[in-house]
Amino acid sequence: MRLLLVEDEPDIQNFLKSSLTEAGYQVDAAADGKTAERLVIDGQFDILIVDLGLPDQDGISLILKLRQLGVRAPMLILSARRSVDDRVRGLEQGGDDYLTKPFALAELLARLRNLIKRNSPPGAEAIRLRVLDLELDLLRREATRSGQLLQLTPQEFVLLEYLCRNAGRVVTRSMILDQVWGMRIQPDTNVVDVHIYRLRGKVDGPGQQPLIRTLRGVGYVLKDR
């Protein structure tokens, strides 16, 4: 997976580069728009991360320029503006995504994965999800663990489905709020934790191997091994 990182802050560029490399991406970095254009002409990238606040030009115009140059790869837009402006929303509808700074690394990685998945040719949509002994029937909206039917509310099922689709990977609270409840909020209370806690009470019965793990300060992960 080749990734182009366009970010001018050296600190952020460094830690992103190392984290992304660690996550298995082959990272090229550019500190300004000119370099980014040159790199795009030279090579093919599968995904791009573009910071909007570049020293030499506006990030939006860079993105438009890159699209003109024939870049079809999805882009993840990083923005330090707190309210993401309309132009970015417009781009997001075109298959791209955005993230405001500061962000959780786990969230960045998850959004990258989502973007790649969304842009890859669709395979047969699974009607069953299986993680270890946990099994989800997406048509009948039923979940079983070791063959035992779990009594889940529809909302809990959606939450578990989201965890299963990201099994083995960290999901943050804001990702859960975004994907399961459809809102980008940052509650300063434990609303998500209580949902997870309740779900865990139903999924991880006594004597069973706990599947849903909490990573404090980061989020949750559904164990897949």
Binding site: Q155, D188, N190, V194, G217, V218
Partner: protein, 485 residues
């Protein structure tokens, strides 16, 4: 035209102005005409009186000189008839018999000696005897059987008989009536025409003002980059437009500066925060023991709270300056509240709180979805943080006065009395609160940015009440404050 379209016209300023102007004009011309009419009528009367006086003298002369023989009646009668044909102001008579003039010679005893005119002259004689006719001065005489009075002049002959010459005022009145009729028709035409001209001119002029007001109102509510329409003319109205635009330029400029400052502030703070968070996360992934991870994790959590604080402070600051940027979409408040309650209910029941929604079904408003999500999350976070166990929260959603009304009641301890007055100010919080005191200020900021209001109070039965009112549609905000012109 339906009454809906008529009403605003009748209530418009153009209508009132043209009505008053026309009224003043109509009264003025009417007064002038009254004077003219009086003058003309007097003049006509003066002329006919002069004719009567002259003619009656001539006739008296003729009567005296003519010998009183068998031919007397014929001679005087013919002279009288001849005189009647030279009547001033005479209109073409429809009948051959001359009924506009009469000649009467009556004896001193009141007997009729000679009559020239329509009919036998009996009623005329009776009328003359009923009124005292002073010689040489013509007087009005009403004769039975004639609609219009006669003007009668008399002269006393030496033989003691009287000669009366009467001239019907019919022709005079007819002239005046036709004068009045023509005037009224013309007057009506001019008044209507004048009303039309005044109305359309003021309306056209005021429609510019109205357009300016509408545009200004629209600008006030949404788009600061728009300008009010200007005209090429250099009159007061176009001056108003230019002044307004000039003012808007300056406001937009300062707003732009504010955006630039907040944006660069946000950017300058965010980049180091991102770098710090990233480094912390990387070191966290390198740490294996839980004990070592603890300080890093709490540092990340502190950092997230700092970010949240930064976001809210900037939002509140911008909203206080009415500069919060909105991206309005149609939003069902009922659905949003249900999702939010679904999200918060577990945490609430975990704490022993109950939450309930009373709603009359879907209620769509135009609002910035992200801001509204955060606003409602803030409201719920507040309840969750501050209510003691076993309390309940009731949310009522309804439509009141073209606004969506969201009433949040709880039966907790209510607001701290000492902060109650300053609830919506930044950094105001209760003594036991561990928040940063931005919650309600943020809620207020979002509501105001949408043209709504927030009110918070303590209920009489105990507990707190927060009322959020949001306009149903964004365009309603700028239609109502502009009155019809």
């Amino acid at each position: 035209m339906s009454s809906k379209t008529v009403k605003p016209v009748m209530r418009s300023a153009a209508w009132r102005i043209s009505l008053w102007a026309t009224l003043a004009f109509a009264c003025g011309t009417m007064l002038v005409f009254a004077f003219l009419h009086r003058f003309v009528a007097d003049d006509i009367q003066r002329r006919s009186d002069a004719w009567l006086s002259g003619e009656v003298e001539v006739l008296g002369d003729v009567a005296e000189r003519t010998p009183k023989d068998a031919l007397y009646d014929r001679v005087v009668g013919e002279v009288a008839e001849l005189a009647g044909k030279e009547v001033p102001n005479k209109l073409l008579s429809e009948s051959s018999s001359n009924d506009s003039v009469f000649f009467l010679q009556a004896g001193g005893d009141g007997s009729r000696q000679l009559w020239v005119g329509a009919g036998d002259g009996e009623p005329t004689l009776k009328a003359i005897q009923a009124v005292k006719i002073v010689s040489d001065h013509p007087t009005d005489l009403h004769v039975q059987g004639f609609g219009v009075p006669f003007r009668v002049a008399s002269i006393r002959l030496d033989d003691g008989s009287y000669i009366y010459l009467g001239l019907s005022e019919r022709d005079e009145l007819r002239v005046l009536r036709s004068l009045r009729l023509r005037f009224f028709l013309l007057w009506l035409l001019i008044v209507l025409f004048g009303f039309g001209i005044v109305f359309f001119t003021t309306r056209r002029m005021l429609s510019h003002v109205r357009k300016i007001a509408e545009a200004a109102s629209r600008i006030g509510h949404s788009d600061l980059t728009a300008r009010v329409p200007t005209t090429q003319k250099h009159d007061e109205v176009s001056n108003l437009a230019l002044t307004l635009n000039h003012m808007l330029d300056r406001i937009e400029n300062s707003m732009h500066q504010l955006h630039t400052i907040t944006d660069s502030l946000a950017h300058d703070l965010r980049s180091p925060l991102t770098a710090i968070r990233g480094k912390l996360e990387m070191s966290l992934s390198a740490v294996m023991q839980v004990e070592q991870a603890e300080p890093i994790v709490s540092a990340i959590e502190e950092l997230d709270r700092l970010t949240d604080f930064l976001n809210k402070s900037l939002d509140v600051a911008e909203a206080k300056a009415d500069a919060l940027r909105l991206n309005r979409v149609a939003l069902d408040l009922d659905e949003l509240l249900r999702i939010m309650i679904d999200l918060y209910e577990p945490s609430m029941s975990e704490k022993g709180l109950h939450i309930r929604l009373q709603s009359g079904g879907p209620l769509t408003i135009e609002a910035d979805a992200a801001l509204l999500h955060r606003m409602i999350a803030n409201l719920f976070d507040n309840e969750l943080k501050h209510l003691p166990p076993a309390c309940s929260v009731t949310i009522r959603l309804s439509v009141e006065d073209d606004a969506a009304s969201l009433i949040l009641d709880d039966d907790g301890p209510g607001f701290d009395p000492e902060v109650c007055l300053h609830l919506f100010e930044r950094r105001v919080k209760g003594r036991d609160s561990n928040g940063h005191g931005l919650g309600l200020a943020f809620i207020d900021a979002v509501a105001r940015a949408h043209g709504g209001t927030v009110a918070a109070s303590n209920r009489e039965s105990g507990g707190a009440r927060i009322i959020v009112a949001l306009p149903l549609a964004s365009n309603q905000g700028y239609q109502s404050p502009v009155p019809a012109i």
